[in-house]
């Protein structure tokens, strides 16, 4: 079966857009992606629109109201933090299946303020009674599990934040462009030990879009800037006796990564850069191991040795990651792919990963969904 390609991809600068609707934000990203592909709305045969907080208001149809109501099939997708990647994957499936030659994937989000993960409605609140269901705490516990097993330290977790904030100083589309030295990260307000405020991703609004096309269409458009989708894998959480009492983001990632590497016939060593789900600094280190970037227990050493910094052995989150670029749930997955595409096209400016041929993107939505994509320069 022929591969599908990304012919156009773009994102809005992540930030706060209180006066703009889901349709407007998603529509703008869609038009940017179409322009990047050299296509128009009449070329688009299907739209898959990802959003979490806009999922009740038919965001995809509202995107069409902004860019042209051509009557094509529109499907709205919601899959927690894996929403954007899941929408992209639906477009990929439609193209791979031969149902259409041009499918558009949009991820759009407007975020509420404050911490996510307040837990389910019960007769009395369970927060602070049966531990905490807040996301900073849930991911702190995952980090502490790693710490108990391998001796990973607060400082090593904090270094993730230092690195990703540094990377974002070179990304004009990131929410923040600000260095955060180690003392500042570790000394910031403690939210849930070991995650300080600067080790939590930023709740921002944003949108990103990708035009997925068939090989035939990609060749017709010219392969110069085309991105080949080598793998698209999506996993749900397999049985594990502690999950969901303790959300397991590890086995679901391992499962999706294994499938993606098998699909592509590639291994972690073949990848030149990675955008992974650093929703909290603690999470990033876990995923070094889950994605096979190092052996089990070596993530702490990897960050100490700067192996995942720009210029290192395998740069991770050179965009600034969710920690500093921002994390608008529905848009994040496609924004990760945009970052990888920039590098594969040699258009990433100051943060360009030299000679990048292949990149991997990863998102995890608690509940739980994990998507892994492998993209390659055509």
């Amino acid at each position: 079966m022929a591969d599908a390609y990304i012919a156009g991809i773009d994102m809005l600068k992540f930030g706060r857009y209180p006066d703009r609707s889901f349709g407007e934000l998603g529509g703008e990203a869609a038009l940017l992606a179409l322009d990047d592909a050299g296509l128009g709305v009449r070329d688009v045969q299907a739209l898959y629109c990802g959003s979490v907080f806009g999922s009740f208001e038919m965001p995809g149809q509202n995107v069409m109201r902004q860019i042209g109501q051509t009557g094509i099939p529109v499907t709205n997708v919601s899959n927690a933090c894996a929403t954007g990647a899941a929408a992209f994957r639906e477009a990929w499936i439609a193209v791979k299946a031969g149902i259409c030659d041009v499918a558009l994937a949009v991820g759009v989000e407007k975020m509420p303020r404050g911490m996510l993960g307040g837990g389910e409605e019960t007769a009395i609140s369970h927060e602070g009674l049966f531990g905490s269901a807040s996301m900073p705490c849930v991911f702190a516990e995952s980090g502490m599990e790693h710490a108990a097993k391998y001796g990973t330290t607060f400082e090593q977790f904090a270094k993730v934040s230092v690195k990703n904030h540094h990377h974002s100083t070179m990304n004009p589309k990131a929410m923040y462009q600000k260095e955060t030295p180690l003392e500042e990260v570790m000394g910031a307000e403690m939210i849930a030990y070991p995650n300080t405020k600067l080790m939590c991703s930023v709740n921002v609004d944003g949108a990103a879009a990708a035009v997925v096309v068939s090989e035939k269409k990609a060749k017709e458009l010219g392969l110069d800037r085309a991105i080949r989708v080598r793998a698209s894998a999506l996993a749900s959480d397999p049985w594990n006796p502690r999950n969901p009492t303790m959300w397991d983001v590890n086995s679901v990632t391992q499962l999706a990564a294994k499938q993606a590497y098998e699909q592509a016939g590639l291994g972690a060593d073949d990848i030149d850069l990675i955008e992974l789900h650093d929703c909290f600094a603690t999470a990033e280190l876990l995923h070094y191991e889950n994605l096979g970037l190092c052996a089990e227990g070596e993530a702490g050493r990897m960050i100490d040795d700067d192996e995942t910094a720009l210029g290192g052995r395998i740069p991770v989150n050179v965009s600034g990651g969710l920690l500093s670029k921002g994390h608008p749930l529905g848009a994040t997955g496609i924004a990760n792919m945009y970052e990888v595409a920039l590098h594969l096209r040699g258009e990433a400016g100051a943060r360009q990963v030299e000679n990048a041929k292949r990149g991997l993107t990863h998102v995890v939505g608690l509940g739980t969904a994990c998507a892994v994509h492998i993209l390659e320069k055509a």
């Binding site: 905490s132 599990e145 403690m190 939210i191």
Partner: protein, 151 residues
Amino acid sequence: MNKTSKTKERMSTDPKPAQKFIKFETGGRPYIEGKRCRSCAAVMTSEPLACPACGAREGYDSFRAAETGVLHAYSIVARSYPGVATPFVSAIVDLDDGLTLKGNLINIPPTPETITPGMKLRVTFDDALGRTDKEGGSYIAYFFEPAEQGA
């Protein structure tokens, strides 16, 4: 189990369990009730339609969970939602018979120096921190504390 017993039935005004898997002995003492898959013996605190571990639909046997276990992971929560007192320790605890529960770890200073994964804990039951529902009803919750204390 023991449905015929008429001694000390719980009254509708008695505190209610704050989790469905908190049950009461006829004498009123609370305990954790686990469910064990009749096919693969996986344990959990609810009864899914089919076993999430093996897919069997053979049902579950109830068991009274162990009240001792070890700390698997934790976080010291310094900031929570409005109205929730901090700090508190959010703990993931593996009970000795395989159930994993999440709850507050109490009677220990909330610092990384004092809390050690792998430490032995025991389950205690108490009022749900004074929290009441809209009808003013009170609840019984479980907590964890170091096993050595008061031993």
